[in-house]
C-alpha cells in the first residue's frame, strides 16, 4: 500500500462524526432552593430574648408544581409584663402561674413575670398545584408546638392569571386550631389571683380557639417597572382568647390607682385574671407596590386593620433597595399605630367595676399592653451580597420602639416604652 496523506480527509470525517448536538442539561433543573436564617431578638431591660434559627427549602416538581418546606425553632427567655402596672411607694407581690411560688416587684417597677421560658418548634409545608398554564392552588399546612401552646392549620389559596399575566386574582381560605395549656391550669376569668400555696382559681387544664380566614386579592402589573397588590382579608376567631397569664389590677381609688387593700379575703391578691370576648371579627385591607427605579427597587405597603374589639390600626412599611456595585443596602422603615380595644382597662375600681363579693360588673377587661393605644416605629438596615452561583448572604439589623398611650393614669403607672433589636443573618443557595 502506498503511504498517503489522509490528515485532511480524517479531519473532515471526524467533523461529520462529532458535529452532533450535545443534549446536556435536559430536563428543567430540579434543584432545591434553600434559605437558612438566624434571628436574634432582644428587648431592653431584661425582657424577652429570642433566638430563632430557621430553614426553608423549596423545589419544583415536574414542570409546574412545587413544594416548599419550612422549619423554625424559637427559643425564648426573659420576662414579660403580667398585666399589673407599676405603682410608686408600694411593693407588689404576685403568684407564679404554677401557684407554687411568688415574686415581689419593687415600688415604681413594672411587674414582669420572669418565669417564662419556652422553646417553640414550627413546621410548615406548601404544595403548589398548577391547574393549567394560568391558574394554580397552593395547599398549605402548618404545625407548631411549645410547652403550653399547640397550633395546627391548613390553608388553600387559588390564583388565576388574566390578560397576559398582567392581572392575577386570588382567593384563599385558612383554618387554624389552637390549644392553650397554661402552666398551672386555666385561670377562671375575673377570678382573683391567690396567694402562693393557696388553692388557685383554676378551671380545667386547656382551652381551644379556632381561626378562619378568608382573603381575596388582586395583583396588577402597571408597567414594566411597577406592580401593585391589593388584598382584602376577613377573619373570625372563636373560642378562648384570653392571655391566661395576664391580670388586671383592682383598686379602691382610681385617682391613686393603688392595688386594693379591701378586696375580698386574706388569701386573695388585688388582681383578677383578664377576660376577653370569645369571638373576634377581623378585617384588613392590604396594599403593596413594588417599583423599579433605574437600578434600585422600592417596596412599599400599607395595611388598614379593624376588628370588633375596637382595634383599628395603620401599618406603613417601606423598603428601599439601594444597589451597590456587587451588593446592596436596604434601609427599612415601618410605622404602626393602633387604637385601644374597647375593653382595655387600666384597672378595675372596687365598688364600680367589681363589688366586694368579687362579682365583676363589666363584660370584659384586659390590661395587656398589646390591646392599648400604641405606636411602633422600626428602623432597619440590611446588607446583602448576591453571588454568582445563585447564592446570597445578607445581614439585617432593626431597631424597634414601641410606646403605649395609657391615657389619663396616675403618675408613675404608665406602661413603659419597649425597645428591641433584631439581628438577622441569612444565607440562601441552590442545592
Amino acid at each position: 500500500m502506498q503511504l498517503k496523506k489522509i490528515k485532511g480527509q480524517m479531519a473532515a470525517a471526524t467533523c461529520a462524526l462529532l458535529q452532533v448536538a450535545t443534549p446536556v442539561a435536559n430536563a428543567a433543573e430540579n434543584d432545591w432552593d434553600v434559605d437558612t436564617a438566624f434571628l436574634y431578638y432582644g428587648e431592653a431591660d431584661g425582657r424577652v430574648q429570642a433566638a430563632e434559627p430557621a430553614i426553608y427549602m423549596g423545589r419544583n416538581i415536574g414542570d409546574d408544581d412545587r413544594i416548599d418546606l419550612r422549619v423554625v425553632v424559637d427559643a425564648l427567655t426573659g420576662a414579660t409584663p403580667n398585666g399589673a402596672y407599676a405603682v410608686n411607694g408600694v411593693a407588689q407581690t404576685f403568684t407564679t402561674p404554677s401557684g407554687e411560688s411568688s415574686y415581689t416587684i419593687a415600688p415604681g417597677d413594672t411587674p414582669l413575670d420572669s418565669t417564662f421560658r419556652d422553646v417553640r418548634v414550627a413546621l410548615g409545608a406548601d404544595y403548589t398545584q398548577s391547574l393549567d398554564r394560568m391558574s394554580k392552588i397552593i395547599w398549605g399546612a402548618n404545625l407548631s408546638g411549645e410547652h403550653d401552646y399547640f397550633s395546627m392549620g391548613v390553608s388553600a389559596n387559588y390564583s388565576k392569571d388574566f390578560n397576559n399575566r398582567n392581572t392575577t386574582l386570588s382567593a384563599g381560605v385558612g383554618y387554624n386550631n389552637d390549644t392553650v395549656k397554661p402552666g398551672g391550669g386555666v385561670p377562671i376569668e375575673f377570678a382573683p389571683m391567690r396567694d402562693q400555696g393557696a388553692s388557685q382559681n383554676i378551671d380545667g387544664s386547656s382551652e381551644t380557639k379556632t381561626i378562619i380566614d378568608f382573603m381575596v386579592g388582586i395583583t396588577q402589573v402597571i408597567d414594566r417597572k411597577t406592580m401593585v397588590q391589593l388584598n382584602l382579608s376577613l377573619g373570625t376567631v372563636s373560642g378562648y382568647q384570653n392571655d391566661p397569664y395576664k391580670i388586671v389590677t383592682v383598686v379602691d381609688d382610681p385617682v391613686a390607682g393603688l392595688p386594693s387593700t379591701a378586696f375580698l379575703t386574706a388569701n386573695d391578691l388585688p388582681y383578677v385574671f383578664e377576660k376577653r370576648p370569645d369571638s373576634r371579627q377581623k378585617s384588613s385591607l392590604f396594599l403593596k407596590a413594588v417599583h423599579h427605579l433605574d437600578e434600585d427597587v422600592i417596596n412599599a405597603s400599607y395595611r388598614y386593620y379593624s376588628d370588633d374589639w375596637g382595634i383599628k390600626s395603620h401599618t406603613l412599611d417601606l423598603k428601599y433597595r439601594y444597589e451597590l456595585a456587587a451588593s446592596y443596602l436596604q434601609p427599612h422603615v415601618r410605622y404602626y399605630s393602633q387604637s385601644a380595644a374597647d375593653f382595655y382597662r387600666h384597672n378595675l375600681v372596687l365598688g364600680t367595676d367589681i363589688n366586694t363579693a368579687g362579682d365583676v360588673l363589666v363584660d370584659y377587661a384586659s390590661h395587656d399592653y398589646r390591646l392599648a393605644e400604641s405606636t411602633t416605629t422600626t428602623l432597619g438596615l440590611k446588607y446583602g451580597i448576591p453571588m454568582d452561583d445563585n447564592s446570597e448572604f445578607s445581614v439585617r439589623g432593626e431597631l424597634i420602639t414601641q410606646s403605649v398611650n395609657d391615657g389619663a393614669v396616675p403618675a408613675g403607672q404608665e406602661t413603659p416604652d419597649l425597645s428591641a433589636i433584631m439581628l438577622q443573618l441569612n444565607y440562601s443557595f441552590v442545592w
Binding site: 450535545t22 443534549p23 414542570d63 409546574d64
Partner: protein, 160 residues
C-alpha cells in the same frame, strides 16, 4: 383589526392539535444577528422553528438544549431554527449565550417589534413556519411534557 388578530390565534390553537393547514403568511422578520442580518424570507423552502426568548426567562434557558437537538436531528430534512432574543440590552443576551453550545441563528430584537408582530402571549413562544413561508403552529412556554408533541409537529411539517 382586533377581530382578525383574535381569529388568527384561535386558528393556531386549534391547528396545533389537529391536521396541518396553513393559517396565513408568517410576518416578515429582518433582524440583526451577531455577524450580520437575517431575513426570514431567505429561509423559504425550509421549515423554520421560530423561538422567542430572553435571558431573564428561565424556561427559555431550559428549552435551548432541546432546540439545539431538534436542529441537529432534523436539519438534514430541512429544519432551520431562528431564535429571536428580546432582551432590552444585547449585552445581557451575549452574557447568556457565552459558553453555550448552540447550532442555530440568534437574532436580536431589542425593541420587540417582531414579538408584537407575532402577538406573543408568553415567554418563551415558538412558531412553526412551513416551507411555503406560512405560519402553521405556535406554542407558549416550555415544559417537559410538551416536548413530544412539539417534536411531532416539527416532523409532521417537515414531511408535509
Amino acid at each position: 383589526m382586533k377581530l382578525v388578530k383574535y381569529s388568527f390565534f384561535l386558528a393556531i390553537v386549534i391547528f396545533t392539535k389537529t391536521a396541518f393547514s396553513a393559517i396565513e403568511d408568517a410576518p416578515a422578520i429582518k433582524l440583526p444577528t451577531a455577524s450580520g442580518q437575517i431575513d426570514l424570507s431567505s429561509l423559504k423552502g425550509k421549515v423554520v422553528y421560530l423561538d422567542f426568548w430572553a435571558s431573564w426567562c428561565k424556561p427559555c434557558k431550559e428549552s435551548f438544549p432541546w432546540v439545539h437537538q431538534m436542529k441537529e436531528t432534523y436539519k438534514d430534512q430541512g429544519l432551520e431554527v431562528l431564535a429571536i432574543n428580546l432582551d432590552k440590552e444585547r449585552k445581557l443576551a451575549n452574557e447568556f449565550l457565552d459558553g453555550m453550545d448552540i447550532n442555530f441563528v440568534v437574532a436580536f430584537d431589542e425593541a420587540g417589534d417582531t414579538a408584537s408582530e407575532y402577538q406573543l402571549r408568553g415567554m418563551p413562544s415558538s412558531y412553526l413556519i412551513g416551507r411555503d413561508g406560512k405560519l402553521y403552529a405556535s406554542h407558549i412556554g416550555f415544559r417537559e411534557k410538551d416536548k413530544a408533541a412539539m417534536e411531532q409537529a416539527i416532523k409532521d411539517l417537515l414531511s408535509k
